[in-house]
């Protein structure tokens, strides 16, 4: 079993979708961030008896690997953004439209996380952006080691923007630092205005909340100001941008926000 995630390690698949003639060579894994920590063991010389203090944070290993990712990204001036939401909030559609608006002014690539299939990666590939699909199998979230493996396959150019689309899940991904510059939580108005209160852990780690599908507000029983207030109840002062991927409303403000992102965590 994988030491960081609960999934079977053999179940995780990382695949670069063929893209352009100059990327046909095998990926140089040595260019990715450190992927594996040597299996450590205590430097113990006497038999342990009685009570032994451990005092170790349970996410210490993931956080350590996330630190490697963060340093690797910062050295190259690459901005990695972790997009999290429930399934169906419109993350992939948002990315497809964002890529269309940002290119060619800024190189963009994508790491897609899903339990199964290459459906999302194929959608991204059709936009022309390089994309790696990570299938987590039984796993319910991406972790820092998976991102390291994804980056080693993707080989994003220096100074570029990398979107990491996490597994659609409003619970587990919140706990796993990937080494990203910012965490973006996407919620669509069709999910109801109480989502931030029902899943506070996720919204409490957001650096930015995108409220998608605002074109559907006339058809749903959701008051936008209340949804915004609920986001700020669990993440005081968080920046919230309402938008519609379908109509394009709010996309300009989102793209402006992206241009202000630094590689180092904000």
């Amino acid at each position: 079993m994988c030491g960081t995630c609960g999934c079977g390690e053999a179940d995780v698949r990382v695949e670069l979708l063929a893209f352009g003639p100059d990327r046909s060579g095998g990926p140089d894994r040595s260019r990715g961030p450190d992927q594996e920590e040597p299996a450590g063991h205590g430097h113990r010389h006497e038999p342990l008896t009685g009570v032994v203090d451990i005092e170790t944070a349970l996410l210490a290993k993931n956080d350590h690997l996330a630190g490697h990712n963060r340093a690797w990204l910062a050295e190259r001036g690459i901005v990695a953004l972790n997009l999290m939401s429930s399934p169906g909030s419109g993350k992939t559609s948002l990315l497809a439209r964002t890529i269309a608006e940002l290119t060619p002014s800024r190189p963009v690539s994508v790491i897609e996380g899903d339990q199964e299939t290459r459906i999302d990666a194929e959608r991204i590939r059709s936009t022309g952006a390089p994309v790696v699909q990570i299938n987590t199998g039984a796993g319910c979230h991406l972790d820092a080691d998976m991102l390291a493996r994804g980056l080693a396959e993707l080989r994003p150019p220096d100074g570029s923007l990398v979107f990491v689309e996490n597994v659609g899940n409003l619970v587990c991904p919140a706990l796993f630092d990937l080494g990203e510059a910012a965490r973006i939580v996407v919620v669509s108005v069709t999910e109801g205005e109480d989502k931030p209160l029902k899943y506070p852990q996720m919204f409490s780690v957001a650096d930015l909340v995108l409220i998608n599908k605002v074109d559907l507000l006339p058809y749903v029983d959701v008051q936008l100001p209340r949804l915004v207030a609920h986001c700020r109840a669990v993440r005081p002062g968080v920046r919230v941008l309402p938008l519609s991927v379908t109509t394009g409303e709010g996309m300009a403000a989102w793209c402006d926000w992206l241009l202000t992102c630094d590689p180092v965590r904000r």
């Binding site: 960081t4 009685g50 032994v52 170790t56 349970l58 619970v171 109840a233 005081p236």
Partner: protein, 113 residues
């Protein structure tokens, strides 16, 4: 079900320190605001400890309450959930406790014989 990953982390953190010596009790700290369900951890514990030095060990879970301090009025208060709101109406609140997530200590098994 991130509790499976978290509970695997318990085994890793302990064996890194205690090696192959058998462990009788594992004491973990899971704050009430940590986003981890203790019952789910207990469920996973038996599964992930099978075949390790922690097999058969008792899992003791301490659950520190959430506590916070309001930066606006200075009040120190209990935080039953992650909605950061003081009675004075301010959301400018510092979480003091409740987010703990770690292994505190273990009790080694008595050597046989």
């Amino acid at each position: 079900m991130h509790e499976l990953a978290i509970t695997q982390g318990v085994v890793d953190a302990v064996t890194e320190r205690t090696g192959s010596a058998p462990v009788a009790v594992v004491r973990v700290r899971v704050g009430r605001l940590a986003g981890v369900v203790p019952d789910a951890m207990r469920f996973c514990f038996e599964l992930v400890t099978a075949g390790t030095p922690l097999e058969g060990a008792e899992l003791e879970i301490e659950q520190p309450e959430g506590r916070a301090r309001c930066r606006s009025c200075g009040r120190n208060f209990a935080l039953p959930d992650p909605v950061l709101l003081c009675r004075c109406g301010s959301a400018d609140v510092e979480v003091l406790a409740g987010r703990e997530l770690g292994v505190a200590s273990v009790v080694m098994a008595e050597p046989a014989g």
